[in-house]
Protein backbone atom coordinates (compact mmCIF):
# COMPACT_ATOMS: atom_id res chain seq x y z
CA UNK A 1 0.00 0.00 0.00
CA UNK A 2 1.12 3.55 -0.74
CA UNK A 3 0.50 6.60 1.38
CA UNK A 4 1.44 10.26 1.77
CA UNK A 5 5.03 10.81 0.72
CA UNK A 6 7.29 12.14 3.45
CA UNK A 7 9.39 14.22 1.10
CA UNK A 8 6.49 16.51 0.14
CA UNK A 9 6.12 17.85 3.68
CA UNK A 10 2.36 18.26 3.63
CA UNK A 11 0.36 19.51 6.56
CA UNK A 12 -1.16 16.63 8.53
CA UNK A 13 -4.52 17.50 6.99
CA UNK A 14 -6.34 14.64 8.69
CA UNK A 15 -5.95 16.48 11.99
CA UNK A 16 -7.53 19.65 10.64
CA UNK A 17 -6.51 22.45 8.32
CA UNK A 18 -6.43 26.22 8.18
CA UNK A 19 -8.82 27.68 5.62
CA UNK A 20 -7.25 30.52 3.63
CA UNK A 21 -8.25 31.86 0.20
CA UNK A 22 -5.55 31.39 -2.43
CA UNK A 23 -5.97 35.06 -3.45
CA UNK A 24 -4.29 35.89 -0.12
CA UNK A 25 -1.19 34.05 -1.31
CA UNK A 26 -1.22 36.19 -4.44
CA UNK A 27 -1.34 39.34 -2.29
CA UNK A 28 1.54 38.15 -0.12
CA UNK A 29 3.54 37.21 -3.20
CA UNK A 30 2.99 40.67 -4.68
CA UNK A 31 4.11 42.36 -1.46
CA UNK A 32 7.29 40.28 -1.44
CA UNK A 33 7.96 41.16 -5.06
CA UNK A 34 7.40 44.86 -4.49
CA UNK A 35 10.16 44.75 -1.89
CA UNK A 36 12.58 42.69 -3.96
CA UNK A 37 12.00 43.42 -7.64
CA UNK A 38 12.12 46.99 -9.00
CA UNK A 39 10.52 45.97 -12.28
CA UNK A 40 7.21 44.90 -10.80
CA UNK A 41 4.07 47.05 -11.27
CA UNK A 42 0.69 45.91 -9.98
CA UNK A 43 -2.31 46.74 -12.18
CA UNK A 44 -5.91 46.70 -10.99
CA UNK A 45 -9.33 47.23 -12.57
CA UNK A 46 -11.47 48.54 -9.69
CA UNK A 47 -11.26 45.35 -7.64
CA UNK A 48 -8.34 46.14 -5.34
CA UNK A 49 -9.91 44.87 -2.15
CA UNK A 50 -11.17 41.49 -3.27
CA UNK A 51 -8.09 40.66 -5.36
CA UNK A 52 -5.75 41.77 -2.54
CA UNK A 53 -3.90 44.28 -4.71
CA UNK A 54 -5.12 46.81 -2.15
CA UNK A 55 -2.27 45.53 0.05
CA UNK A 56 0.12 46.86 -2.59
CA UNK A 57 -1.85 50.09 -2.99
CA UNK A 58 -1.55 50.71 0.76
CA UNK A 59 2.14 49.77 1.18
CA UNK A 60 3.68 50.57 -2.20
CA UNK A 61 1.37 53.16 -3.81
CA UNK A 62 4.07 54.03 -6.38
CA UNK A 63 3.91 50.46 -7.69
CA UNK A 64 0.13 50.40 -8.09
CA UNK A 65 -1.82 51.47 -11.19
CA UNK A 66 -5.64 51.52 -11.30
CA UNK A 67 -7.17 51.30 -14.78
CA UNK A 68 -10.75 51.62 -13.59
CA UNK A 69 -13.31 49.19 -14.98
CA UNK A 70 -11.52 48.74 -18.31
CA UNK A 71 -9.99 45.28 -18.53
CA UNK A 72 -9.21 45.26 -22.24
CA UNK A 73 -7.33 48.53 -21.91
CA UNK A 74 -5.50 47.25 -18.83
CA UNK A 75 -4.23 44.11 -20.59
CA UNK A 76 -2.92 45.92 -23.64
CA UNK A 77 -1.45 48.74 -21.51
CA UNK A 78 0.37 46.11 -19.47
CA UNK A 79 1.70 44.76 -22.74
CA UNK A 80 2.96 48.23 -23.57
CA UNK A 81 4.62 48.63 -20.18
CA UNK A 82 6.28 45.25 -20.45
CA UNK A 83 8.14 46.39 -23.58
CA UNK A 84 9.80 49.10 -21.50
CA UNK A 85 11.27 46.55 -19.10
CA UNK A 86 8.63 46.59 -16.39
CA UNK A 87 6.94 43.41 -15.21
CA UNK A 88 3.22 44.15 -14.88
CA UNK A 89 0.93 41.91 -12.80
CA UNK A 90 -2.58 42.61 -14.05
CA UNK A 91 -5.34 41.58 -11.73
CA UNK A 92 -9.09 41.15 -11.86
CA UNK A 93 -11.64 38.33 -11.80
CA UNK A 94 -11.08 35.41 -14.16
CA UNK A 95 -14.23 36.07 -16.18
CA UNK A 96 -13.30 39.67 -16.88
CA UNK A 97 -9.71 38.95 -17.84
CA UNK A 98 -9.60 35.53 -19.53
CA UNK A 99 -12.98 36.20 -21.12
CA UNK A 100 -13.31 39.91 -21.74
CA UNK A 101 -9.69 40.56 -22.67
CA UNK A 102 -8.92 37.25 -24.38
CA UNK A 103 -8.05 38.78 -27.74
CA UNK A 104 -5.62 41.22 -26.12
CA UNK A 105 -4.03 38.27 -24.31
CA UNK A 106 -3.93 36.18 -27.47
CA UNK A 107 -2.64 38.54 -30.07
CA UNK A 108 -0.85 41.38 -28.30
CA UNK A 109 0.59 39.42 -25.41
CA UNK A 110 1.05 35.76 -26.42
CA UNK A 111 1.65 36.20 -30.14
CA UNK A 112 3.85 39.22 -29.39
CA UNK A 113 5.59 37.30 -26.58
CA UNK A 114 5.12 40.09 -24.06
CA UNK A 115 6.17 39.64 -20.46
CA UNK A 116 2.80 40.14 -18.77
CA UNK A 117 1.62 38.29 -15.64
CA UNK A 118 -2.09 37.79 -15.12
CA UNK A 119 -3.70 37.21 -11.74
CA UNK A 120 -7.17 35.77 -12.35
CA UNK A 121 -9.18 35.80 -9.13
CA UNK A 122 -12.61 34.29 -8.41
CA UNK A 123 -12.00 31.09 -10.33
CA UNK A 124 -14.49 28.30 -9.76
CA UNK A 125 -18.06 27.82 -8.64
CA UNK A 126 -17.08 28.35 -5.00
CA UNK A 127 -17.35 32.09 -5.75
CA UNK A 128 -20.87 31.36 -4.44
CA UNK A 129 -23.74 33.86 -4.07
CA UNK A 130 -22.57 36.35 -6.73
CA UNK A 131 -23.69 33.67 -9.17
CA UNK A 132 -22.70 32.46 -12.65
CA UNK A 133 -21.73 35.90 -13.99
CA UNK A 134 -18.82 35.94 -11.55
CA UNK A 135 -18.00 32.22 -11.29
CA UNK A 136 -15.16 31.70 -13.73
CA UNK A 137 -15.33 28.13 -15.03
CA UNK A 138 -13.72 28.51 -18.44
CA UNK A 139 -10.34 30.22 -18.00
CA UNK A 140 -8.36 26.97 -17.93
CA UNK A 141 -9.26 26.03 -21.51
CA UNK A 142 -9.20 29.67 -22.65
CA UNK A 143 -5.64 30.17 -21.44
CA UNK A 144 -4.38 26.66 -22.15
CA UNK A 145 -4.90 26.92 -25.90
CA UNK A 146 -2.62 29.94 -26.25
CA UNK A 147 0.92 29.24 -27.51
CA UNK A 148 3.56 30.53 -25.11
CA UNK A 149 1.23 30.82 -22.11
CA UNK A 150 2.12 29.28 -18.75
CA UNK A 151 -0.94 28.40 -16.67
CA UNK A 152 -0.73 27.65 -12.95
CA UNK A 153 -3.66 26.73 -10.69
CA UNK A 154 -2.27 26.81 -7.14
CA UNK A 155 -3.77 24.41 -4.64
CA UNK A 156 -3.60 26.73 -1.63
CA UNK A 157 -2.40 30.13 -0.42
CA UNK A 158 1.18 28.96 0.22
CA UNK A 159 1.52 27.56 -3.26
CA UNK A 160 -0.12 30.69 -4.68
CA UNK A 161 2.55 32.86 -3.09
CA UNK A 162 5.31 30.66 -4.50
CA UNK A 163 3.74 30.74 -7.96
CA UNK A 164 3.39 34.53 -7.86
CA UNK A 165 7.03 35.05 -6.97
CA UNK A 166 8.10 32.52 -9.60
CA UNK A 167 6.09 34.34 -12.27
CA UNK A 168 8.27 37.46 -12.00
CA UNK A 169 11.39 35.40 -12.63
CA UNK A 170 9.97 33.85 -15.79
CA UNK A 171 10.22 35.62 -19.15
CA UNK A 172 6.85 35.38 -20.91
CA UNK A 173 3.09 35.42 -20.26
CA UNK A 174 1.80 33.67 -17.13
CA UNK A 175 -1.76 33.15 -15.91
CA UNK A 176 -2.31 32.39 -12.22
CA UNK A 177 -5.76 31.20 -11.17
CA UNK A 178 -7.07 31.93 -7.66
CA UNK A 179 -10.27 31.28 -5.76
CA UNK A 180 -12.42 33.45 -3.54
CA UNK A 181 -13.22 31.09 -0.67
CA UNK A 182 -11.02 29.96 2.16
CA UNK A 183 -9.66 26.52 1.20
CA UNK A 184 -7.55 24.02 3.14
CA UNK A 185 -3.87 24.89 3.43
CA UNK A 186 -2.22 21.54 2.80
CA UNK A 187 1.28 22.51 1.65
CA UNK A 188 4.14 24.05 3.65
CA UNK A 189 7.14 26.19 2.80
CA UNK A 190 9.11 22.94 2.44
CA UNK A 191 6.70 21.35 -0.03
CA UNK A 192 8.44 21.07 -3.39
CA UNK A 193 7.05 23.41 -6.06
CA UNK A 194 8.46 23.68 -9.55
CA UNK A 195 6.41 25.17 -12.35
CA UNK A 196 6.03 22.56 -15.08
CA UNK A 197 6.40 19.64 -12.69
CA UNK A 198 3.43 17.71 -11.29
CA UNK A 199 4.06 16.63 -7.71
CA UNK A 200 3.14 13.17 -6.44
CA UNK A 201 1.72 13.75 -2.94
CA UNK A 202 0.56 10.21 -2.28
CA UNK A 203 1.95 6.97 -3.64
CA UNK A 204 -0.44 4.33 -4.91
CA UNK A 205 -0.74 1.82 -7.69
CA UNK A 206 -4.43 1.16 -8.39
CA UNK A 207 -5.47 4.52 -9.81
CA UNK A 208 -3.99 8.00 -10.19
CA UNK A 209 -6.08 11.00 -9.12
CA UNK A 210 -4.71 14.09 -10.80
CA UNK A 211 -6.02 17.38 -9.46
CA UNK A 212 -5.35 21.09 -9.43
CA UNK A 213 -6.46 23.92 -7.17
CA UNK A 214 -8.47 23.13 -4.05
CA UNK A 215 -9.58 19.79 -5.49
CA UNK A 216 -6.15 18.35 -4.65
CA UNK A 217 -7.33 18.36 -1.05
CA UNK A 218 -10.57 16.62 -2.05
CA UNK A 219 -8.44 14.06 -3.90
CA UNK A 220 -6.42 13.34 -0.75
CA UNK A 221 -9.61 12.88 1.26
CA UNK A 222 -10.97 10.63 -1.49
CA UNK A 223 -7.78 8.56 -1.37
CA UNK A 224 -8.24 8.04 2.38
CA UNK A 225 -11.80 6.86 1.81
CA UNK A 226 -10.66 4.55 -0.97
CA UNK A 227 -7.93 3.07 1.20
CA UNK A 228 -10.62 1.82 3.60
CA UNK A 229 -12.12 -0.05 0.65
CA UNK A 230 -8.79 -1.54 -0.34
CA UNK A 231 -8.09 0.81 -3.25
CA UNK A 232 -4.59 2.24 -3.37
CA UNK A 233 -4.76 5.68 -5.01
CA UNK A 234 -1.89 7.85 -6.15
CA UNK A 235 -2.60 11.58 -5.75
CA UNK A 236 -0.85 14.10 -7.97
CA UNK A 237 -0.96 17.88 -7.67
CA UNK A 238 -0.84 19.04 -11.27
CA UNK A 239 -0.72 22.77 -10.48
CA UNK A 240 0.86 23.61 -13.83
CA UNK A 241 -1.76 22.89 -16.45
CA UNK A 242 0.52 24.30 -19.12
CA UNK A 243 3.20 23.22 -19.85
CA UNK A 244 2.02 19.80 -18.70
CA UNK A 245 4.37 17.39 -16.94
CA UNK A 246 3.97 14.62 -19.50
CA UNK A 247 6.51 12.26 -17.86
CA UNK A 248 4.76 12.17 -14.50
CA UNK A 249 1.38 11.67 -16.19
CA UNK A 250 2.56 8.85 -18.44
CA UNK A 251 4.32 7.13 -15.55
CA UNK A 252 1.04 7.29 -13.63
CA UNK A 253 -0.88 5.86 -16.58
CA UNK A 254 1.58 3.01 -16.96
CA UNK A 255 1.91 2.15 -13.27
CA UNK A 256 -1.71 2.68 -12.16
CA UNK A 257 -3.59 1.81 -15.35
CA UNK A 258 -6.47 4.19 -14.58
CA UNK A 259 -6.83 7.94 -14.17
CA UNK A 260 -9.32 10.37 -12.67
CA UNK A 261 -8.79 14.12 -12.96
CA UNK A 262 -10.40 16.71 -10.68
CA UNK A 263 -10.75 20.47 -11.13
CA UNK A 264 -13.20 23.24 -10.22
CA UNK A 265 -14.02 24.07 -13.83
CA UNK A 266 -15.89 22.91 -16.90
CA UNK A 267 -15.13 19.30 -17.85
CA UNK A 268 -14.36 20.36 -21.42
CA UNK A 269 -10.88 21.51 -22.32
CA UNK A 270 -9.47 21.97 -18.83
CA UNK A 271 -7.00 19.88 -16.84
CA UNK A 272 -9.04 16.79 -17.70
CA UNK A 273 -8.87 17.61 -21.39
CA UNK A 274 -5.14 18.27 -21.19
CA UNK A 275 -4.48 14.95 -19.46
CA UNK A 276 -6.75 13.11 -21.89
CA UNK A 277 -4.80 14.52 -24.84
CA UNK A 278 -1.60 13.02 -23.47
CA UNK A 279 -3.01 9.72 -22.25
CA UNK A 280 -5.12 8.95 -25.30
CA UNK A 281 -2.21 9.57 -27.68
CA UNK A 282 0.58 7.90 -25.76
CA UNK A 283 -0.77 5.37 -23.30
CA UNK A 284 -4.55 4.97 -23.29
CA UNK A 285 -6.05 3.80 -19.99
CA UNK A 286 -9.56 4.16 -18.53
CA UNK A 287 -10.15 7.75 -17.51
CA UNK A 288 -12.81 9.98 -15.94
CA UNK A 289 -13.00 13.75 -15.47
CA UNK A 290 -14.46 15.38 -12.34
CA UNK A 291 -15.70 18.95 -12.87
CA UNK A 292 -18.77 20.89 -13.95
CA UNK A 293 -20.71 19.00 -16.57
CA UNK A 294 -21.26 21.59 -19.30
CA UNK A 295 -23.67 23.90 -17.48
CA UNK A 296 -23.46 27.31 -15.84
CA UNK A 297 -23.68 27.44 -12.05
CA UNK A 298 -26.11 29.40 -9.90
CA UNK A 299 -26.15 31.44 -6.72
CA UNK A 300 -25.70 29.53 -3.47
CA UNK A 301 -23.15 28.91 -0.76
CA UNK A 302 -19.78 27.55 -1.89
CA UNK A 303 -20.24 24.19 -0.14
CA UNK A 304 -23.76 23.70 -1.50
CA UNK A 305 -22.58 24.43 -5.02
CA UNK A 306 -19.53 22.14 -4.89
CA UNK A 307 -21.81 19.33 -3.69
CA UNK A 308 -24.61 19.98 -6.18
CA UNK A 309 -22.26 20.30 -9.15
CA UNK A 310 -20.23 17.24 -8.24
CA UNK A 311 -16.82 18.40 -7.03
CA UNK A 312 -16.33 16.82 -3.63
CA UNK A 313 -14.33 13.82 -2.44
CA UNK A 314 -17.32 11.48 -2.79
CA UNK A 315 -17.67 12.42 -6.47
CA UNK A 316 -14.01 11.56 -6.94
CA UNK A 317 -14.49 8.24 -5.14
CA UNK A 318 -17.35 7.24 -7.40
CA UNK A 319 -15.41 8.11 -10.57
CA UNK A 320 -12.48 6.09 -9.26
CA UNK A 321 -14.77 3.09 -8.84
CA UNK A 322 -15.89 3.48 -12.44
CA UNK A 323 -12.35 3.38 -13.85
CA UNK A 324 -11.34 0.50 -11.61
CA UNK A 325 -14.32 -1.44 -12.89
CA UNK A 326 -13.22 -0.69 -16.46
CA UNK A 327 -9.73 -2.04 -15.77
CA UNK A 328 -11.09 -5.50 -15.03
Amino acid sequence: MGGIREDVHLVDYRKGVDMVPSRDGYGHGLLWLCEHDDRVVVCDADLAKSTRTIWVRDKFPEKFVDFGIAEQDMLAEAGGMSRTGLVPFVTTYGVFVAGRAWDQIRTSICYGELNVKIGGAHGGISVGPDGPTHQSLEEIPLMRVLPGMTLVVPTDAIEAKKATIWAASHEGPVYLRFGREGVPVITTEETPFTVGRAEVYRDGGDVAIIGCGPLVYEALVAADKLEKEGVDARVINCHTVKPLDVDTLLTAAKECGAIVTAEEAQVYGGLGGAVAEVISQHHPVPMRIVGIEDVFGESGSPRELLDRYGMNSDNIVSKVKEVIEMKK
Partner: protein, 288 residues
Protein backbone atom coordinates in the same frame (compact mmCIF):
# COMPACT_ATOMS: atom_id res chain seq x y z
CA UNK B 1 -49.27 60.10 -13.92
CA UNK B 2 -48.77 59.15 -10.29
CA UNK B 3 -48.45 61.97 -7.74
CA UNK B 4 -44.89 62.75 -6.66
CA UNK B 5 -45.88 62.40 -2.99
CA UNK B 6 -47.07 58.89 -3.65
CA UNK B 7 -43.92 58.00 -5.57
CA UNK B 8 -41.81 59.27 -2.69
CA UNK B 9 -43.61 56.89 -0.39
CA UNK B 10 -43.13 54.07 -2.90
CA UNK B 11 -39.40 54.86 -3.05
CA UNK B 12 -39.17 54.70 0.71
CA UNK B 13 -40.76 51.23 0.71
CA UNK B 14 -38.49 50.05 -2.10
CA UNK B 15 -35.48 51.10 -0.01
CA UNK B 16 -36.92 49.20 2.94
CA UNK B 17 -37.26 46.05 0.87
CA UNK B 18 -33.71 46.40 -0.48
CA UNK B 19 -32.34 46.55 3.04
CA UNK B 20 -34.37 43.63 4.35
CA UNK B 21 -33.55 41.57 1.25
CA UNK B 22 -29.81 42.21 1.57
CA UNK B 23 -29.74 41.58 5.31
CA UNK B 24 -31.44 38.26 4.70
CA UNK B 25 -29.07 37.37 1.84
CA UNK B 26 -25.93 38.23 3.80
CA UNK B 27 -24.10 39.37 0.66
CA UNK B 28 -24.81 41.74 -2.22
CA UNK B 29 -24.65 45.37 -3.19
CA UNK B 30 -26.25 48.04 -1.02
CA UNK B 31 -24.83 51.37 -2.21
CA UNK B 32 -25.63 51.18 -5.92
CA UNK B 33 -29.08 49.72 -5.27
CA UNK B 34 -30.08 52.58 -2.98
CA UNK B 35 -28.77 55.24 -5.36
CA UNK B 36 -30.96 54.06 -8.23
CA UNK B 37 -34.34 53.89 -6.46
CA UNK B 38 -35.88 57.08 -7.91
CA UNK B 39 -34.49 56.28 -11.37
CA UNK B 40 -36.50 53.04 -11.38
CA UNK B 41 -39.57 54.20 -9.46
CA UNK B 42 -40.21 57.19 -11.75
CA UNK B 43 -39.66 54.94 -14.77
CA UNK B 44 -41.79 51.96 -13.72
CA UNK B 45 -44.65 53.90 -12.16
CA UNK B 46 -44.85 56.86 -14.56
CA UNK B 47 -43.30 56.06 -17.92
CA UNK B 48 -42.69 52.42 -18.78
CA UNK B 49 -45.40 50.61 -20.72
CA UNK B 50 -45.44 47.18 -19.15
CA UNK B 51 -47.66 44.40 -17.89
CA UNK B 52 -46.49 42.23 -14.98
CA UNK B 53 -48.98 39.57 -16.11
CA UNK B 54 -47.33 39.45 -19.52
CA UNK B 55 -43.58 40.13 -19.20
CA UNK B 56 -43.13 39.34 -22.91
CA UNK B 57 -45.96 41.60 -24.09
CA UNK B 58 -44.98 42.78 -27.57
CA UNK B 59 -45.92 46.39 -26.94
CA UNK B 60 -43.95 46.74 -23.71
CA UNK B 61 -41.08 49.16 -23.22
CA UNK B 62 -37.87 47.50 -22.21
CA UNK B 63 -35.70 48.11 -19.17
CA UNK B 64 -32.13 46.80 -19.02
CA UNK B 65 -30.09 46.89 -15.81
CA UNK B 66 -26.60 47.18 -17.22
CA UNK B 67 -25.12 47.63 -13.74
CA UNK B 68 -26.39 44.18 -12.83
CA UNK B 69 -24.91 44.17 -9.33
CA UNK B 70 -27.67 46.62 -8.32
CA UNK B 71 -30.36 43.99 -8.96
CA UNK B 72 -31.87 44.28 -5.44
CA UNK B 73 -33.51 47.55 -6.52
CA UNK B 74 -34.84 45.92 -9.69
CA UNK B 75 -36.10 42.86 -7.79
CA UNK B 76 -37.85 45.07 -5.22
CA UNK B 77 -39.52 47.07 -8.01
CA UNK B 78 -40.56 43.96 -9.95
CA UNK B 79 -42.01 42.33 -6.82
CA UNK B 80 -43.92 45.49 -5.90
CA UNK B 81 -45.20 45.63 -9.46
CA UNK B 82 -46.46 42.04 -9.26
CA UNK B 83 -44.02 40.18 -11.51
CA UNK B 84 -43.48 37.51 -8.84
CA UNK B 85 -44.53 36.87 -5.23
CA UNK B 86 -42.98 39.14 -2.65
CA UNK B 87 -41.69 36.20 -0.62
CA UNK B 88 -39.16 35.44 -3.37
CA UNK B 89 -37.28 38.55 -2.24
CA UNK B 90 -36.16 36.78 0.92
CA UNK B 91 -34.50 34.01 -1.10
CA UNK B 92 -32.08 36.34 -2.93
CA UNK B 93 -28.71 34.67 -3.69
CA UNK B 94 -29.75 31.37 -2.09
CA UNK B 95 -29.64 27.99 -3.77
CA UNK B 96 -32.64 27.46 -6.11
CA UNK B 97 -33.82 31.07 -5.85
CA UNK B 98 -35.38 32.77 -8.87
CA UNK B 99 -33.32 35.79 -7.78
CA UNK B 100 -29.68 35.24 -8.73
CA UNK B 101 -26.84 37.37 -7.38
CA UNK B 102 -26.85 39.13 -10.75
CA UNK B 103 -29.94 39.31 -13.02
CA UNK B 104 -30.69 36.26 -15.15
CA UNK B 105 -33.37 36.52 -17.81
CA UNK B 106 -34.19 32.81 -17.69
CA UNK B 107 -34.95 32.79 -13.95
CA UNK B 108 -36.66 36.10 -13.17
CA UNK B 109 -39.82 37.37 -14.89
CA UNK B 110 -39.32 40.96 -16.04
CA UNK B 111 -35.58 40.67 -16.57
CA UNK B 112 -34.76 41.27 -20.25
CA UNK B 113 -31.07 40.35 -20.30
CA UNK B 114 -28.56 38.54 -18.09
CA UNK B 115 -26.12 41.15 -16.83
CA UNK B 116 -23.38 41.49 -14.24
CA UNK B 117 -20.35 41.77 -16.46
CA UNK B 118 -20.21 45.55 -16.68
CA UNK B 119 -20.14 47.42 -19.97
CA UNK B 120 -22.39 45.13 -21.98
CA UNK B 121 -25.88 46.39 -21.18
CA UNK B 122 -25.72 49.57 -23.24
CA UNK B 123 -24.90 47.51 -26.34
CA UNK B 124 -27.65 45.00 -25.52
CA UNK B 125 -30.15 47.82 -25.13
CA UNK B 126 -29.00 49.59 -28.28
CA UNK B 127 -29.31 46.29 -30.14
CA UNK B 128 -32.86 45.84 -28.85
CA UNK B 129 -33.68 49.44 -29.83
CA UNK B 130 -32.26 48.83 -33.29
CA UNK B 131 -34.21 45.60 -33.68
CA UNK B 132 -37.48 47.24 -32.65
CA UNK B 133 -36.91 50.24 -34.89
CA UNK B 134 -36.06 48.14 -37.92
CA UNK B 135 -39.35 46.32 -37.50
CA UNK B 136 -41.33 49.52 -37.17
CA UNK B 137 -42.17 48.98 -33.51
CA UNK B 138 -42.81 52.07 -31.34
CA UNK B 139 -41.37 50.59 -28.09
CA UNK B 140 -38.76 52.47 -26.09
CA UNK B 141 -35.70 50.86 -24.51
CA UNK B 142 -34.32 52.16 -21.21
CA UNK B 143 -30.96 51.13 -19.77
CA UNK B 144 -29.25 52.01 -16.50
CA UNK B 145 -25.45 52.07 -16.34
CA UNK B 146 -23.15 52.86 -13.43
CA UNK B 147 -20.73 55.76 -13.68
CA UNK B 148 -17.69 53.59 -12.99
CA UNK B 149 -19.11 51.25 -15.59
CA UNK B 150 -18.62 53.97 -18.18
CA UNK B 151 -14.87 53.31 -17.97
CA UNK B 152 -15.52 50.34 -20.22
CA UNK B 153 -14.57 50.89 -23.86
CA UNK B 154 -17.67 49.04 -25.05
CA UNK B 155 -19.83 51.81 -23.56
CA UNK B 156 -18.30 54.27 -26.02
CA UNK B 157 -18.55 51.84 -28.90
CA UNK B 158 -22.27 51.56 -28.19
CA UNK B 159 -22.34 55.35 -27.82
CA UNK B 160 -21.13 55.74 -31.39
CA UNK B 161 -23.45 53.07 -32.77
CA UNK B 162 -26.59 54.42 -31.12
CA UNK B 163 -25.93 57.95 -32.38
CA UNK B 164 -24.88 56.75 -35.83
CA UNK B 165 -28.12 54.83 -36.30
CA UNK B 166 -30.18 57.60 -34.68
CA UNK B 167 -31.67 55.34 -32.04
CA UNK B 168 -34.10 57.92 -30.67
CA UNK B 169 -35.96 55.05 -29.00
CA UNK B 170 -32.99 54.44 -26.67
CA UNK B 171 -32.77 56.16 -23.30
CA UNK B 172 -29.73 55.52 -21.13
CA UNK B 173 -29.43 56.65 -17.54
CA UNK B 174 -26.07 57.00 -15.82
CA UNK B 175 -26.24 56.58 -12.04
CA UNK B 176 -23.76 59.37 -11.34
CA UNK B 177 -22.93 58.65 -7.70
CA UNK B 178 -19.23 59.43 -8.13
CA UNK B 179 -18.20 56.17 -6.47
CA UNK B 180 -16.95 52.84 -7.74
CA UNK B 181 -15.30 50.04 -5.73
CA UNK B 182 -11.80 51.46 -5.41
CA UNK B 183 -13.06 54.93 -4.46
CA UNK B 184 -14.14 58.21 -6.05
CA UNK B 185 -14.58 57.93 -9.82
CA UNK B 186 -12.50 61.05 -10.44
CA UNK B 187 -9.60 59.60 -8.44
CA UNK B 188 -9.77 56.06 -9.82
CA UNK B 189 -10.37 56.97 -13.49
CA UNK B 190 -11.64 60.46 -14.22
CA UNK B 191 -14.87 60.65 -16.21
CA UNK B 192 -15.75 64.34 -16.22
CA UNK B 193 -16.98 66.16 -18.02
CA UNK B 194 -19.29 63.25 -18.65
CA UNK B 195 -22.15 65.37 -20.07
CA UNK B 196 -19.75 66.99 -22.54
CA UNK B 197 -18.46 63.59 -23.64
CA UNK B 198 -21.98 62.37 -24.44
CA UNK B 199 -22.84 65.63 -26.22
CA UNK B 200 -19.73 65.20 -28.32
CA UNK B 201 -21.00 61.71 -29.17
CA UNK B 202 -24.18 63.36 -30.53
CA UNK B 203 -26.53 62.26 -27.78
CA UNK B 204 -29.27 64.36 -26.20
CA UNK B 205 -28.03 64.90 -22.65
CA UNK B 206 -29.85 65.83 -19.44
CA UNK B 207 -28.02 66.39 -16.21
CA UNK B 208 -30.46 66.26 -13.32
CA UNK B 209 -30.98 65.35 -9.67
CA UNK B 210 -31.47 61.58 -9.79
CA UNK B 211 -33.35 61.56 -6.48
CA UNK B 212 -35.88 64.13 -7.67
CA UNK B 213 -38.84 62.16 -8.99
CA UNK B 214 -40.22 65.20 -10.80
CA UNK B 215 -36.96 65.89 -12.62
CA UNK B 216 -36.55 62.23 -13.53
CA UNK B 217 -40.08 62.04 -14.92
CA UNK B 218 -39.53 65.27 -16.87
CA UNK B 219 -36.32 63.94 -18.45
CA UNK B 220 -38.03 60.69 -19.46
CA UNK B 221 -40.85 62.67 -21.06
CA UNK B 222 -38.41 64.83 -22.99
CA UNK B 223 -36.78 61.61 -24.23
CA UNK B 224 -40.15 60.40 -25.51
CA UNK B 225 -40.45 63.57 -27.61
CA UNK B 226 -36.95 63.35 -29.15
CA UNK B 227 -36.96 62.35 -32.80
CA UNK B 228 -33.29 62.15 -33.85
CA UNK B 229 -30.86 61.13 -31.17
CA UNK B 230 -30.46 58.68 -28.31
CA UNK B 231 -30.80 60.22 -24.84
CA UNK B 232 -28.38 60.06 -21.91
CA UNK B 233 -29.77 61.12 -18.54
CA UNK B 234 -26.95 61.82 -16.14
CA UNK B 235 -28.69 61.30 -12.84
CA UNK B 236 -26.71 62.87 -10.01
CA UNK B 237 -27.20 60.60 -7.04
CA UNK B 238 -25.82 59.66 -3.65
CA UNK B 239 -24.50 56.14 -3.27
CA UNK B 240 -26.27 54.52 -0.31
CA UNK B 241 -29.00 57.22 -0.38
CA UNK B 242 -31.40 57.17 2.55
CA UNK B 243 -29.32 55.11 4.98
CA UNK B 244 -27.12 57.53 6.91
CA UNK B 245 -24.26 55.16 7.67
CA UNK B 246 -24.00 54.04 4.03
CA UNK B 247 -24.23 57.36 2.21
CA UNK B 248 -21.24 58.32 0.06
CA UNK B 249 -19.04 55.50 1.34
CA UNK B 250 -17.28 53.21 -1.17
CA UNK B 251 -17.06 50.50 1.49
CA UNK B 252 -20.83 49.99 1.30
CA UNK B 253 -20.66 49.15 -2.41
CA UNK B 254 -20.53 45.40 -1.90
CA UNK B 255 -21.52 45.13 1.76
CA UNK B 256 -24.86 44.37 3.38
CA UNK B 257 -26.49 45.43 6.65
CA UNK B 258 -26.19 42.78 9.32
CA UNK B 259 -29.33 41.06 10.53
CA UNK B 260 -30.59 42.57 13.78
CA UNK B 261 -29.48 45.94 15.05
CA UNK B 262 -27.79 47.19 11.89
CA UNK B 263 -30.63 46.56 9.48
CA UNK B 264 -33.02 47.90 12.11
CA UNK B 265 -30.96 51.11 12.15
CA UNK B 266 -31.13 51.28 8.34
CA UNK B 267 -34.92 50.95 8.49
CA UNK B 268 -35.11 53.61 11.20
CA UNK B 269 -33.23 55.99 8.89
CA UNK B 270 -35.93 55.35 6.31
CA UNK B 271 -38.67 55.97 8.86
CA UNK B 272 -39.73 52.37 9.52
CA UNK B 273 -40.12 51.29 13.12
CA UNK B 274 -41.49 47.73 13.16
CA UNK B 275 -39.04 44.86 13.88
CA UNK B 276 -37.23 44.26 10.57
CA UNK B 277 -38.41 40.68 10.14
CA UNK B 278 -42.04 41.78 10.29
CA UNK B 279 -41.68 43.36 6.85
CA UNK B 280 -41.11 39.92 5.36
CA UNK B 281 -44.52 38.79 6.56
CA UNK B 282 -46.63 41.66 5.24
CA UNK B 283 -47.42 43.11 1.84
CA UNK B 284 -45.59 45.98 0.16
CA UNK B 285 -47.91 48.67 1.47
CA UNK B 286 -47.69 47.67 5.13
CA UNK B 287 -45.54 50.18 6.98
CA UNK B 288 -45.84 48.89 10.56
Amino acid sequence: MVEIKELEETSRKIRRDIMVMLAEAGSGHSGGSLSAVEVLVSLYWNILKHDPEKPDWEERDWFVLSKGHACPVLYAVLAAGGYFPRKALWTLRKLDSILQGHPHRLKTPGVEFSTGSLGQGLSLAAGAAMGLKRQGMPNSVFVLTGDGEQNEGAIWEAGMTAAHYRLDNLCAICDRNYLMIDGNTEEVMGLDSLPDKWRAFNWQVFEIDGHDLGQMTYAYQRFLLEKKRPTMIIANTIKGKGVSFMENLADWHGATPKKGEQVQQALADLGFTAPWEEYKKHDFDWVG
